[in-house]
């Protein structure tokens, strides 16, 4: 087997606003889709922010090995309101990325909207622009922090389909933070549950999903 895309050993984070990490070990294989489940305060956002390198306020120790190209999708689309859609997608990239950005917009179903302003798009469309902005960077690792949490149910299902198709085509390693069990089962190859800053369970998603669903619900204390 090839080396994992992500390798985390004994990661600890204290003094965070969003929940601590008490020694997390996690490997993510290349092209693997991992959903990170957990209650609020379980540390899942802390873990994602540590991997994205934006947890300046946190203190802690541990070892993180990451691939060179990482893209992040946030819960809000986080488009710059003063830039048109295409400029948001190519933000920070050389001019040569222009054609690739057009292709990425086409892939997320927004061909022809390059010249729109972010405020002219619906919430789902904005999140698709954010997806295109991540795709165009051709990431080896895609980090997504509850990216569908703010969308309505129907849009969310459409986004699930889109993400599934794109992940199959581009095969980045993906870490998706969510608190939605059905979303985790629908999208991921593997579901990791975080509880109190530790990995409480690590399950593969295969055939018998109803059993998996019940067991996950029980672990979240909802079943």
């Amino acid at each position: 087997m090839s080396a994992p895309a992500v390798r985390i050993r004994d990661l600890r984070r204290t003094f965070t606003l969003k929940g601590v990490l008490n020694g997390v070990d996690l490997d993510i294989a290349q092209g693997e889709f991992v959903a990170l489940l957990g209650r609020s305060g379980s540390g899942k956002s802390t873990l994602l922010r540590a991997l994205a390198g934006i947890d300046h306020e946190a203190e802690g120790t541990g070892e993180i090995a990451l691939p060179p190209r990482i893209a992040v999708i946030f819960q809000d689309a986080r488009l710059l309101p003063w830039m048109r859609v295409l400029d948001n997608v190519t933000l920070g990239l050389p001019a040569a990325a222009h054609a690739r950005a057009l292709r990425a917009l086409e892939e997320v179903g927004l061909a022809g909207r390059e010249r729109s302003w972010p405020h002219e798009l619906s919430g789902g469309e904005q999140q698709r622009v954010a997806l295109a902005r991540a795709l165009v960077r051709e990431p080896d690792l895609l980090l997504a922090d509850e990216p569908f949490g703010a969308l309505d149910a129907l849009t969310r299902i459409q986004m699930h389909d889109l993400v599934r198709r794109l992940s199959e085509r581009h095969r980045p390693a993906i870490l998706l933070v969510t608190h939605d069990i059905d979303e985790a089962i629908a999208l991921a190859d593997r579901i990791v549950m975080l509880d109190d800053g530790r990995i409480a369970s690590d399950l593969r998603v295969e055939g018998a999903q109803q059993g998996l669903r019940n067991s996950l619900l029980a672990r979240l204390g909802v079943g």
Binding site: F74, D76, L80, P81, W82, L91, P118
Partner: protein, 278 residues
């Protein structure tokens, strides 16, 4: 009922008039709408003058301003003084604006800059512009440098304060985004900080331009041998109310014109914004 006859009785349609709810926003703006207020004021003034309610010794009629203005233009005095005044205000505004933007960025983007610059600016802000004129005269004399310096100082504060607070208000989420996209410091400045600060800067520029005209009036009436303020001061000495009035009208037009120019720039530069006002 008539059910047995097979007749279908259509329920009368409920003809509720679609309730015309007035929108809460002010609606679509007209192109020259801002002229309405000044127009009404002019009308009011003209009516008062024409009916004799307003003594010309208190305030001459609007048409007196026009004839006096035409006379001043024929003599060449108005253009000459206007050019001098406009050049003074423009150089002061430019100098003050450049300093304001530079210092706002320094103090907004570096902690140390913030501690040093912002503290001083807040302290100085409490001193009225008129109070520093004696010192300006002491340091720079009574010539042109002093006049431009006073105008620059007056224009500096609103521009600095608005630019600085807009810079500080840039959403932390955009900073995170810049980090995850791996933007360089220059790209961060150019793509996020500058466009994010632009609305605040333009607002400051509007206030700053007004402050510059105000300071211009003060320094020109203080000690000058040219400019609109000088023309007005001279007219006052000879009790020429019509010339004084022309000066007033010119100041008003200049202020209004500058403000319109900045607002025009706002509309061009901030097309991405969707606000109540437009």
């Amino acid at each position: 009922m008539n059910a047995h006859s097979g007749e279908i009785i259509a329920a009368p349609p409920l003809l509720m008039p679609a309730r015309e709810r007035p929108p809460l926003g002010p609606g679509k703006p007209s192109r020259h709408g801002t002229l309405l207020g000044p127009g009404l004021l002019l009308l009011y003034w003209a009516v008062l003058s024409a009916t004799g309610w307003l003594d010309p010794r208190t305030l001459p009629a609007p048409w007196t301003a026009i004839t006096a203005g035409a006379e001043l233009v024929r003599e060449g005095r108005l253009q000459a003084n206007l050019a001098v005044s406009a050049a003074r205000a423009a150089s002061g505004l430019l100098a003050g604006g450049l300093a304001a933007v530079l210092l706002a960025f320094l103090s907004g983007l570096s902690l140390l800059g913030g501690y040093v610059i912002d503290g001083i600016v807040q302290l100085k802000r409490g001193i009225p512009i008129l109070a520093i004129i004696p010192f300006m005269v002491l340091w720079l004399g009574i010539g042109e440098p002093m006049k431009i310096a006073v105008i620059a100082v007056a224009a500096f504060f609103p521009i600095y304060i608005q630019t600085h607070s807009a810079l500080r208000a840039i959403d932390l989420r955009y900073v995170e985004l810049a980090e995850t996209l791996g933007l360089s410091r220059w790209q961060f400045l150019r793509r996020i900080v500058i466009p994010g600060t632009l609305p605040g800067f333009l607002l400051g520029l509007r206030f700053g331009a007004t402050a510059a005209w105000l300071a211009l009036v003060v320094v020109e009436q203080l000690n000058a041998t040219s400019g609109i303020g000088y023309m007005v001061t001279l007219a006052r000495n000879y009790a020429q109310t019509d010339v004084m009035l022309v000066g007033l009208v010119v100041y008003a037009l200049l202020g209004f014109g500058t403000d319109s120019a900045v607002r025009w720039a706002e509309r061009r530069l901030l097309t991405w914004r969707r606000t109540l006002g437009r």
